[in-house]
Amino acid sequence: MLAYLIRRLALAAVTTWAITVVTFIILQLPPGDFVDAYVAQASALGTAISAAEATALRHAYGLDQSLWVQYFKWLNLVVHGQFGQSFEYGRPVTEVIGDRLWLTILLSIGAIIVTWGLALPIGIYSAVRQYSWGDTIFTFLGFVGLAVPNFLLALIVMYVGLRLLNMNVGGLFSADYQLAAWSWAKLWDLCKHLPVPILILALAGTAQLVRIMRANLLDELRRPYVVTARARGLSERRVILKYPVRAALNPFASTIGYLLPYTVSGSVIISVVLSLPTVGPLLLHSLLSQDMLLGSTIILMLGVLTVLGTLLSDLLLMWIDPRIRLGQLR
């Protein structure tokens, strides 16, 4: 069991390192650098940046160094828990990301909770009452949920909100609270804004998990231990909740690891559509303006979240599955 834990931790570390490499490569792929993007932007605003100035800027930001040097400089910062300065914002990357990361996580976790909260009971219902009306309806809705790309859903919700309900569903705060320091009132304001994006974000995941839960549970329901449990005189509810649901939950735990990046990825794009102050729009923007340190830090953070999620789901699996705990299964 300890060996398993160590193996998993080591794996997480290696994966994290690999992510730093991949991240760095991805961000170096587009042609040009931040100064190019900056010069282009300045031009659009009617200001000339001379070639000499561009060179000076490049030097000031270390963009004239080799990729290896830049990578290791960044890695060094990362290892020390720093992430450097955002070129564009002129602030430490961590500050720029600041609240946005927490809002992203809040949104994602909210979405995951909603996903699970809806998917589990619906999945159980659908499996137990396979081919019933309810199952058919949920199955259909589930597929619709899978079929509507969430940005499209966000667009539609925006449209409906605007045209029919006369409300703007974008953003996470009312104008009055944009600026305010954190307070209970602001938190409440945030809570009021959260449901729509969370539901949009949760929809696809919910649909998917309902499918998984239903399939898993259908598998489990066919297993002999269900028959024997029933034959022992347990009530149907007890039989199902104690045995097959428990077993069907097992592979579920392993989905956490992937649910998190999936949700976070989804949050990036719906945040762009709904103008949510999460890391999504920041990431998109940093990629376009080639704000290297900002972009790579965000991707790295999301990657690490994923690794943590995977680790978490491994640990959870270990905790809930005696076969793994007792070393029967790897």
Binding site: G233, Y243, A247, N250
Partner: protein, 338 residues
């Protein structure tokens, strides 16, 4: 002989699938007596397991009991028709485990891997007896000991996958007896076990039957096990009973061509579903495509063309407690001693 504890009368359990209706059990009747063992034998898919599940009312959708009676004499002496009880009602639940215990063929998958055997056993104990946790645990250990499990106090906290196949089957038996039932249905209890363990389990079952005056329904495709264990035998083919009678009569004077084929195929009748029987021509038809007339006629070496393939044979009594459903035998033949 004492009154039967369980009487099954013309039981029909059908599965209603989109492709058609599967008559998994199509008219089965038998009596079961305390202290005696009834063997139900037949190839896979012949309906023997469905019969067992029908008795416990745990047939899964889309299957359901269409007609027939399952008369159970409960411990109170009252006789109830299990087939008429609400399927998940309290009475049926009390009967399951309380009056009738079930032992399943796959001890590995018949136990939850996520719960200790103690957890499952204690649950079963407390379901049918008002005991506190501590007493229930003691009772569970007793049960394990009774089922011949060494070091039961340690084993109670183990998971099923930590035990050997034989021990698992003993756990299953302990579990089946946790509610002190008087009827035990053992559905292929030894199929998954090696020969030595098989013998041990059968011995255990026989011992427990004697100790508790249990009525046992033993479901198997293994004629050897039947010969060793059963007092009475029902031979099933495609949901119908083709022959039934005392074990001696069946073994020494089998009448139905199918029974005869089965006996000829001893010892290797480990038939896989829909595969060829060693000595039987043809394979079991698809359940949706049951042949007309006598279900066995496509494979029957003695079939009477024009009769067997058009008319379902009625059951004919051909001896004391010995009956068969075959056109080869008429009521006249019945008088002919075997």
């Amino acid at each position: 002989m004492a009154d039967p504890i369980l009487q099954v009368r013309d039981l029909h359990t059908h599965f209603f699938a989109d492709e058609g209706v599967v008559r998994a059990v199509d008219g089965v009747s038998f009596d079961l007596f305390p202290g005696r063992t009834l063997g139900i034998v037949g190839e896979s898919g012949c309906g023997k397991s469905v019969t067992a599940r029908s008795i416990l009312r745990i047939v899964e959708r889309p299957g359901r009991i269409v007609s027939g009676e399952i008369l159970l004499r409960r411990q109170t002496g009252a006789v109830v028709d299990v087939a008429r009880l609400p399927v998940d009602g309290p009475e049926v639940r009390a009967i399951r485990g309380g009056d009738i215990g079930l032992v399943f063929q796959e001890p590995m998958s018949a136990l939850s891997a996520f719960h200790t055997i103690g957890n499952q056993l204690i649950e079963a104990v407390r379901l049918h007896a008002r005991l506190n946790r501590k007493r229930a645990r003691e009772r569970a250990i007793e049960l394990l000991a009774m089922a011949g499990i060494p070091r039961p106090a340690d084993r109670i906290d183990a998971y099923s996958f930590e035990l050997s196949g034989g021990l698992r089957q003993r756990v299953m038996i302990a579990l089946a007896l946790a509610g002190e039932p008087r009827v035990l249905i053992a559905d292929e209890p030894t199929t998954a076990l090696d020969v030595t363990t098989q013998a041990q389990i059968l011995t255990l079952m026989r011992r427990l039957q004697q100790q508790r005056d249990l009525a046992v329904i033993l479901i198997t495709h293994d004629m050897g096990v039947i010969a060793e264990m059963a007092d009475d035998v029902v031979v099933m083919y495609l949901g119908k009973e083709v022959e039934k009678g005392p074990v001696d009569a069946i073994f020494h004077a089998p009448r139905h061509p199918y029974t005869r084929s089965l006996l000829r195929s001893i010892p290797s009748v480990l038939a896989r579903p829909r595969s060829r029987l060693a000595t039987l021509s043809g394979s079991i038809p698809h359940p949706f495509a049951r042949p007309g007339g006598c279900p066995f006629h496509p494979r029957c070496p003695d079939k009477l063309t024009g009769l067997c393939d058009t008319t379902v044979p009625a059951e004919v009594v051909i001896g004391e407690d010995h009956a068969t459903a075959c056109h080869l035998y008429t009521t006249q033949d019945a008088k002919v001693p075997a």
